[in-house]
Structure formats: structure tokens, C-alpha cells
Symmetry: C2
Subunit: 337 residues, 2 copies
Amino acid sequence: MTENRQIIIDSLPTDRLEPGNYALRTVDAPAPGDGEVLCRTLAITIGAGQRAGLQGSASYAGAPRAGIVMSGTAVARVEASNDDAVPLGSLVVCPAGWQDYSVHAAAKVRVVGEGDGVGDPAHHLGVYGTNGLTAYFGLFDVGEPKKGQTVLVSAAAGSVGHLVGQMAKIAGCRVVGVAGGEAKCRLLTEELGFDAAADYKSPSFRSDFKEATPDRVDIYFDNTGGEVLGSALRRMKVGGRIVCCGVVSQYDTSKPAPGPFGVPGLLINFRVRMEGFLVFDYAKRYPEAWTRMREWVEGGKLVPKQDVFEGLEKAPEAFVDLLAGGNVGTRIVRVAS
Amino acid sequence: MTENRQIIIDSLPTDRLEPGNYALRTVDAPAPGDGEVLCRTLAITIGAGQRAGLQGSASYAGAPRAGIVMSGTAVARVEASNDDAVPLGSLVVCPAGWQDYSVHAAAKVRVVGEGDGVGDPAHHLGVYGTNGLTAYFGLFDVGEPKKGQTVLVSAAAGSVGHLVGQMAKIAGCRVVGVAGGEAKCRLLTEELGFDAAADYKSPSFRSDFKEATPDRVDIYFDNTGGEVLGSALRRMKVGGRIVCCGVVSQYDTSKPAPGPFGVPGLLINFRVRMEGFLVFDYAKRYPEAWTRMREWVEGGKLVPKQDVFEGLEKAPEAFVDLLAGGNVGTRIVRVAS
């Protein structure tokens, strides 16, 4: 039998996640049944939202428990197929989890193109995956940016944020990013076209942030919640919108903080709309987003960033580092080529 | 000269407001200049939002200071006029403040009808005043209720809440009120047509609230913020809306609490839209609301409640009692008849 390495949840984190919350085990690779395919994991993506999935019932990701393979989306190669719709050799995106091999009903995997300009198959996990789709529908459908407006993005160098900011530039907006550390802030303004950036870890953040938003903020794309949300609430323009996409500031703990001061008072004073969304609700419109994002990427207007760890065994470390703000763009763990 | 009693802010409250934060003084009544009218206050309305005005710059009501007449809206009789548009004897609504007499530019007062079915002139401060207009535009324009939906209202026996709930019934909704105390809850269900009510002061509030919202909540009209908002966030339906109207739980203090847990996380999980509004933004559409509310009141579908203190000198006490949740419907201080 072929060996299948799996990374399992060994214990649920009680405070900050640690690599020791995971364990590696080796089992036999599964065999596909009728209508199923065997997928060889090539690369896994890790998102901060998965940490919320470890908090239990509070999250949309469902209840976690020790002893199961850590969940995760992968790009994979079909190595055995019992369904003609997904032939041997297909490149697919599937909910593989953190392991070398997984079996899925053929209808549950998405066959993706290759060799047609996408480049690295891992882009199907980033700009053409949940991150890109989240950026697209969150910004355009929930945020509704108009030319000339100011769009603020938190976790702006992150998997979703770095795409949101670039899309907002494409929409003709002034774009301000909040990120942790000087290096990320420089990346935003020097490489990704952001108009301004503020480092939330800097002691001068308050004044830097104010200076970066002289005309206040029309649309705040919030990936963090917490203190950055609190700061943003005070800089909203009358009639502004807050797109609630993620709460990364509150994921890596079992004791989330209360909401920011000024909720709901500042929403009233500034007549602000704050709206949460989940990208899965837009599934029927994914093709529209893929078409537009492909045009932007091929035209050089949208630059997807990846941030790669090599080897399945590095996944726990890659996740912990991500939660500490270590990533730029989509975090990828390469498992095989 | 005619004497003019005034209630002035003697000191800004540092924690809970007390009657001692105000002082009564007597001055000469003012004389109207060119284009001005002299108004004799008949009744003043007091709303919890005015407490926010004493917190300083955090509020839309502007910065308060000791030594000035306490602000407030009144219904008044014109006792001298230097503008033909507002003749002597007119009944008007004006920003009189807490005093017997005030002078205003004629263009700044609103002449209101009388003897045409409105009944008590003080209704111009309640159902036909800011309270009614706030209920109307907040519910219909921000909340957008559809027949059969569940509408939840906090401070449901309050000046705005008791009207919101009745309007939601008119819209064909199931209406649930949260209020403080059994007596108020009984009023809601037995007199005002609410389908259910839950007493937030009861030790069984959590289970009572859950029982009162078996199908969860489509629209939450939030007058309180704080813990009731926190409870409501956990009972929203996917795609629900929260209408942010007031934050009475946070007004009577100089140290407002942080926002509720679950902001913004629960907004994401449940794809909830939370939106603040100020009624003044709808000024051009007030006539539409007055027309519809008159029909409802005359048809017996909308029952405006008043809660009256007699005498200008009682205004501070009426305010403090209101902040402690003492009122049912619009709080009125009658000054003269």
C-alpha cells in the first residue's frame, strides 16, 4: 500500500495555538469507491479563519475535535478515478485536509485548468480560490466602492487583504492599508500600489493612521476586528460601510475580547452600515469573478502574492506563524510536485 | 418684565446623572427681534439620547457645558411675533430648552396643527415628533420589514420602541419586545399588541428571550446597545438586519462599556447587516410619515403612549427617572397649558 502521512489535531488549543497541538501519523492511503476519486495533495492553503474552526461552535467552520485530520483545502492531482467526469491526471481543488492522499466523491472536487496562463497550480488556492473570491465579492458586492472613494483594508498584506487593496485600486479608489510591521507596509505602497499604509504595531499608529486617511474612510474592509476596527470606527465618513470579512485579532485564543468601544454608538453618529458576509453565499457567481480576476492578473493589474512553506510536516508551523502575522499573501504549504 | 424660569446645567455628570446636576434660575423673558417669535413653552419632551449629549464630543448632540440652559424640544404657543409667517397664537414645535420662554427665528420653528384630531398638543413631541419619525424611518427604511418576519425591539415600552413595535405589527410582522420589568412586558402584550415580551431584568431572561424568539430574529430594532444587543446578536437569522437607533444602556455614565462580544464575528457567521441612522437625514420625507401615522392613529392601529411629569421644575427628576427606565412611551414635562 501507498503510505499516507496525516497531520491530526492532537489536542485543542486552550490559548494560543502551538505546533504541539498537532501530531503526524502515517496510515495506508485510502482506495476510492464507486464514483470516487483518489487525490494526491500537491499544495494546501492555510487561512487564519481556520483557527476560528478550532474554537468550536462559535465558528461557521463547525466543531473541531482531537483525533481527526486537520481540515484544509488543497490543489491535488487525481491518481485513481472511478468517475469519467474526473479522469485520471486531472488537477482538482478539494477539501483534502492536511494529508498526502484523500478520497472524495467526484462531484465534490472542482476540476481546474492548468497550462492556460494560471501558472503555479497553487494560484487556485489564492487569487482563484477562496481568498480571491472573498476579496472580490466582499469588496464589490458588500462594499460597493465608487471611483474616488477611500477604501481602508486591515491585514492588508494578508491573503485576502492584499487582493482587496489592489481590486480597490482597479475600481479607482484611494487605498489605505493597515498591516503589522514596516516591511509589510512598504510592500503595500511600493509593490502593490496602495496609496498609504499604517503599521498597527508602531507606537505612532494613531497619528500615522489619521494622517493616512485625511478624508476619512468610505469603505473599511475589516479582516481583523478588535482594535483596528475600533480605530476605523472613529475615522468613518458619514454614510460609510464596514465590510466584515474576518476577525483575525480574535481567533488565536479561547477568550475572545469584547467588541470595540463605540458599537453601536459610532454606527449611529456616522450612519455607518456594518455587514458580515461569507463567500460561499456567492457560489453561483464564482465564474464571473474568475473571469474578471484572470483579466486583471494577465493584464498585470492584480499581483497575487504567495508565501510558501515546503513539506506537509511544516503545516502546523506555517499555521502558527500565520496567526502571528508572518505571512504575506496566501500561505501555501507545498506537499508534492 | 415677564419672568422666565430656566433650568441650567450646573455641573456635568461624572457618573450617573442626578437632579443636582441641574439648577433653576429666574431671568427676564427675552424679547423677539426682527423676524423672530417669542415662544411660551407648553410641554417639553425628554429623550434618553439627551444624556449622550452630556458626554461631550462622543455624541451627535454636540458638546455640553455647565452654565447653559439644558437643551430640549418643546411644543409652545407664540406670544409675540415679528414675522407674519408665524402669527401670534400659533402652536409651534421649537428647540426651546428647559425654560418658560424662548426666542427663535420664525424660520426655525415648525407651526403645527391643532384641533384637527391630533388631540393633546404634546403628541407633536411624541408620535408626530422625533420619536414617531425615528420609529417610522428606522423601521421601514433601515429595517425593511416583510410580512411574516420576526421583529425584535429593545426598550420596547420606551418613547421610540412602543411605536416601532406597533408599526411592525401594522407591517404584518411577529413582534417581540424586550423591556425592564413585568409591568412593561404586560403592557406590550396586553395593550400594544406585541406577540411576546421578555423582561431583561428577570433572572430567567436568557431562556425567556429564546422562548420568545423560536424562529430567531429577522430584524432587531436596537435602542439599547449593550447586553441586550449581545443577546440579540446570538439570535439573529442568517441575513438579518440590526437597526441601530440608540444606545440607552451606555448613556448614563462617563465610562461606556466596550461593544458586545461577537462584533464582528457573529455578523459574519450570520451575514447580518447592522446599520446606524439619524432621523434628521430623512427630514424631506417627514410629511409622508406624518400622513401615514395620522391614518394609523385615527384608525386605532397605533396607540401613542405618554408619560407625564407636571411642572418645569420636575424636568431634572423626569430625566433621571427616564434614564433609570421609569418611562412608558414619550416622556413629557408639562410646563403650562
